[in-house]
Amino acid sequence: MNNNDRVIVITGTRKGIGRFLAEYYLAQNMIVCGCSRSACDLDNPKYIHYELDVADEKSVEKMVFDIFKRFRKIDFLVNNAGIASMNHSLLTPLSVVEKVFKTNVMGTFVFCREVAKVMTKNKFGRIVNFATIATPIKLEGESIYAASKAAVENMTKLLAKEYADFGITINAVGPTPVYTDLIKNVPKNKIDSLLQTQAIHRYGTFEDIVNVIDFFLEDKSNFITGQIIYLGGVSS
């Protein structure tokens, strides 16, 4: 695939997997448009950063308008931005539920909607959302996070039907725990028992996730849509 003029939008690029993805696709010569709630020190002539909250509809519209004005197209969207909440449901305030759903569900939705509008222009687009294995394995302590990602999964499958006529595919990758900030405070025995639920009992890596995203973005993957691929041998 010739990536020189490909435009990819990745949300949540300041750190973690999003940052890794931004650097990975920059190394592949793509134009990368990223965003996060605060400034990002990623310095590359082909990288554009937008400071915004993914759940702020107006800011997302402005970001996508700006990208459209600059490049007249968006080829790929990776909805990576997400927040987790690890707590027993009996101890979870509604404000946390709202926050998690706003970022994970509404943020994903509004990016899908705005970016898909641009993708329809070229009758081409690939969208990758982020699911989690916490949803299929019904992981205790993750009720809100898993529920929000269940919504993302269902939305992914449904949007696949709505977007198909416009040449856009939309799929999701469901990572296992990856050793990032998100889980560094989770007790080791909890993580170990979680890893035991996977067919392959190890942490995931950023490379494992990129491998699935690359597959979804491939030109040849134009017949793959509405699919959720879980890593580590977890099944739904």
Binding site: E61, K69, T120, K121
Partner: protein, 95 residues
């Protein structure tokens, strides 16, 4: 931007879309875009909305036709070209 200019842009966008489907209808201010007797299928309306947003953007105007205001009105602004033009005119004057 004047209301007449907005109407003209909408008519051009609708006409271009329909002609691409080999449909050569006369487009007037009363041409129905949504509901019974519409000239568009549901995908057609989506395309028109997207094309209008980007056409106005190219002219330097940011409009959003998927706003709460558009969707919550008792009478849909998408009913015909005239009502849609009125709605866009209102949005532009709020900016």
């Amino acid at each position: 931007m004047e209301l007449e200019e907005i109407q003209r842009i909408i008519k051009t966008v609708v006409k271009d879309y329909l002609e691409a489907q080999d449909n050569y209808l006369d487009i007037t201010s009363e041409t129905v875009l949504f509901g019974d007797n519409t000239v568009l299928d549901s995908i057609g309306l989506v395309n028109i909305v997207i094309d209008l947003e980007s056409t106005f953007l190219d002219k330097g105007y940011e409009i959003s036709l998927t706003s709460d205001v558009a969707m919550s009105r008792r009478q849909s602004p998408f009913r015909n070209i005239s009502t849609l033009a009125d709605f866009i005119y209102e949005q532009l004057n709020e900016q």
